[in-house]
């Protein structure tokens, strides 16, 4: 299986991930997180980036929970046809 072969080569070839690659990934993560995007200096430490990432992921999970709550209210209260029409309309309008 090609997937098995590639994972084996990755295992033997990259025994030590270089610091450059780690800092590369840290910068990439930093760009994704809104709070850290504002202070775009290179002084943000890796641990702070990771911590903010954790907080951001937790916030996103909480938003998904909240939106699921509201969606369930809507979907329960309306009947089939009008709900589907409203859903499709709302998604086409964005």
């Amino acid at each position: 299986m090609s997937s098995r072969r590639s994972s084996r080569s990755r295992q033997s070839g990259s025994s030590r991930i270089s610091d450059d690659q780690i800092s590369d990934l840290v910068t990439k993560l930093q760009h994704l997180i809104p709070e850290l995007r504002r202070c775009r200096s290179d002084k943000v430490s890796a641990s702070k980036v990771l911590q903010e990432t954790c907080n951001y992921i937790r916030n996103l999970h909480r938003e998904v929970d909240d939106l699921s709550d509201r969606l369930s209210e809507f979907l329960a209260s309306t009947d089939d046809n009008s709900a589907e029409a409203a859903i499709i309309r709302s998604l086409l309008d964005y």
Binding site: L67, L75, D93
Partner: protein, 158 residues
């Protein structure tokens, strides 16, 4: 060393893909008789919608191509007691990778551990792979949140 390391590919599909998958999962939910019946408790309904959101997000993001989506789908199917057939990655590789990452930098280990608990499937990954998966996961999560926000905005009374 650039050839030994895979380039970071964290491209995420467009919002439409996420919306499509979410709508499909939602409509499947609605065709179930138990969903819109009045005996159905609100908390059950919310849980089902939440699970639908995560499953549709995992499917939209590439199904079994990414580790986190694969783990999500696996967890969801296990809860339904479905027989899941995935390409089994070798468990031995996972154990070895964990040993390697434990020998790594101590600075990132504590925060990386917290991250591993948050990202599905993060248990057996090296730190670099974990961060790749995290980046992709964050992008997909924010897409999913946008889709759901659009839905809620469209459905709320004007």
């Amino acid at each position: 060393m650039a050839s030994a390391y895979n380039p970071i590919y964290t491209d995420v599909p467009e919002k439409d893909v996420f919306a499509l998958h979410f709508l499909q999962t939602l409509s499947n939910l609605r065709t179930q008789n138990s969903f819109s019946s009045p005996d159905n408790k609100t908390s059950d309904r919310v849980k089902k919608i939440k699970k639908a959101a995560y499953v549709s997000m995992a499917r939209a993001a590439g199904g079994t191509n990414r580790l986190w989506s694969r783990s999500l789908l696996h967890q969801a199917a296990k809860r339904n007691n479905k027989n899941v057939r995935f390409l089994r990655r070798k468990r031995r590789v996972t154990w070895l990778m964990r040993r390697r990452s434990n020998r790594g930098d101590p600075i990132e280990d504590v925060a990386a551990e917290r991250l591993r608990n948050l990202v599905p499937g993060g248990g057996g990954m090296e730190t670099s792979k974990l961060m790749e998966e995290t980046a992709h996961y964050i992008k997909c999560l924010s897409m999913q949140v946008k889709v759901m926000q659009c839905l809620v905005d469209g459905l709320s009374p004007k």
